[in-house]
């Protein structure tokens, strides 16, 4: 088996007295799409910056692409791509000029630069926008351009910090198709997102809450976690015309541990022995289901808060 692309052990990052990342351990395999989830301010961006060597680790150790980021951050950075949370290319430069600039910065020879950018333009389809100012591109095209610039030097690992935030659903889906093509080439991807459907598409997911990595596993594994479905309880998916009122009523019942609206339906965690009739659900269509990833994250966040 190939050595992991990222091997982080007890990574801790502090800003003064604030611990932004607390003893996080994780591995990412070559070609794996790894999702990082968690509320805003939980430490996702900081963890990524730590793994790139942009901020020093207070404790712990991170081996990225076989090198220690604490001592060889420059070499590590030369082999990874990074798309920051905020669009960070030059808006007053055209698409072409941005690509040329990054080709120069990454030390590509003119021939290499030409071949590589043609290859990436083919992949991303930015060619028609070459002479537009980057600042004038729509969100989706900005992200594709950012991706081109992050891929010019053929990195073996790419960090994407909320790449799909604020772009339309079609562009979002296209971007994910692109990411899977990269993964198929053996490139590892670490991606942060707030979208559950995106989390479902990741090979493995880590959930960070208040600086701590609470869970880590495949989406399927996370849904099977015993803590998420307490012994003797089950998850129901309830379809009813008036979900809003039903939700309020369900939440007031002692037999219902949790209830949230989930698209057209309600997801509820109910104790064993509570029959549909007890819940007043004789009229509704009810199916037993496994928890969604959102159910998982909400439940473990709550458990974490209650523990304190």
């Amino acid at each position: 088996m190939l050595p992991p692309t990222i091997d982080a052990r007890d990574v801790t990052i502090r800003f003064g007295s604030l611990t932004a990342v607390n003893r996080v351990s994780l591995t990412v395999a070559p070609g794996e799409v790894f999702g990082l989830l968690g509320p805003n301010g939980s430490g996702k961006t900081t963890l990524i910056r730590g793994l790139c060597g942009l901020v020093p680790l207070a404790e712990g150790k991170a081996i990225v692409l076989g090198r220690d980021v604490a001592t060889e951050s420059e070499r590590v950075r030369a082999q990874i791509g990074y798309m920051s949370q905020k669009f960070s290319l030059y808006e007053d430069l055209t698409t072409r000029e941005n690509i040329e600039f990054y080709s120069g910065i990454y030390g590509l020879s003119p021939a290499e630069a030409k071949a590589r950018s043609e290859e990436l333009m083919e992949l991303t389809g930015v060619a028609p926008y070459l002479d537009q100012y980057a600042g004038r591109l729509s969100g989706g095209w900005k992200q594709r351009l950012a991706l081109v610039c992050a891929l010019l030097h053929r990195p073996r690992l790419i960090f994407l910090d909320e790449p799909t935030a604020g772009i339309d659903p079609v562009a979002r889906r296209d971007l994910w198709d692109l990411l899977f093509r990269l993964a198929a080439e053996g490139i590892s991807l670490v991606i942060t997102t707030h979208y559950m459907d995106e989390a479902e598409r990741c090979a493995r997911v880590g959930y960070i809450y208040l600086s701590n990595l609470l869970v880590l596993g495949t989406p399927h594994e996370l849904k099977q976690m015993p803590g998420v479905t307490p012994p003797g309880a089950r998850w129901l998916e309830i379809y009813n015309a008036d979900s809003a009122n039903l939700l309020l009523r369900l939440r007031s019942l002692p037999g219902v541990l949790q209830a949230t609206i989930f698209g057209q339906s309600i997801h509820a965690l109910v104790r064993e022995g509570c029959r549909n009739a007890d819940l007043g659900l004789s009229q509704a269509r009810v199916v037993e289901t496994e928890p969604s990833l959102e159910d998982v994250f909400v439940t473990i966040s709550r458990m974490q808060t209650e523990k304190k």
Partner: protein, 372 residues
Amino acid sequence: MLGEFSHQRMVAVARKEFLHIIRDPATLFFALFIPVLELFMLGYAIDTNVRFVATVVFNQCRTEESKRMIRMFENSKDFRVIKEVYSDAEMNSMIVSGKAQVAIKIPEDFSRQIEAKRSAQILVLVDGSHSSVAGVALNVSNAIALQESLKQYFSERTMLIESRPRILFNPDTRSANFFIPGLMVVMCQMMAIMLSANAIVREKEKGTLEQLFMTPVRASELILGKLIPYLVLTLVEFGTILFLMWSVFQVPIHGYVSTLVGLTFPFTLAFLGMGLYISTRVDTREAAGQMAMGTMMPSIFLSGYIFPLDSMPTFFWYVAFIFPTTWLIDAARGVILRGAGWSELWLHAVVLWGMGIASFALAAAKFRKRLS
């Protein structure tokens, strides 16, 4: 460290920075328009030299001597007789209304007094609200009076002594000759510090710096790549002002332009370094602009650009020499007006190079520390 200094990376940065400059109308405006505007203001509008002062004459005497006296005033080119008046009241109102700044009154007994070998008097009224006019008017009228009395004293004999003052180096005492070399220096300073103060902070503000840190670009490549276009732009501005000074304002350049460039180069480095230092310290462009202004103001006022160094209190006289501006203005006037060369200006060169290298090194060290 990853490999050696890369020429390619530096050129990539320089190219990109050049594109930023030509796409930013505010910078271009500062770079091209302001200096030229200032130049024309100083060159034409604010001519602090006093020439052809509006003058009225009240000649009560009306003799040959008195008329010759008035011609002497006119010939000095400092006075321009706009009107002859015939009463004290009229004379006063011309001054009070501001139509004339000087009035010359020659009393009725002027010639009689001279003939009687007594001291003849003329009255010169000067509007003191224009201090520079007043000073010149006083000096010139004193000189004319003195010359005339000498002539009278030696009467028909040839003059034993003829005073012909000649001002060296700036024979017409034109203010353009004095101010434009200083302006050139001050404009270069402003350009260098403003451009470089924005260099890093702009990328910080836009979030592009973080992306750059992810690339193999080194601090030295980033600094040099950014500063080269600024240096070029500053030197272009320098050349433009120099050319306009010579062609439009007819200020002769007595020394070598190469001497001037050789001194302006380290001077620009000093201010590029200072701007870069500011840029690494602050987080917003606004703060950078304020800090740049803050360093610029004292150096403009204390540099001898406006107020002559010799008229400063001793303490400030010493403080003035901390600023590279003081050294370059002195050197520029030396080269342009006096034709000074390296043998006179070697100290200026040593000091300016020292300041340039020190400021640059300080900024680079500070920046490198922030980067890692």
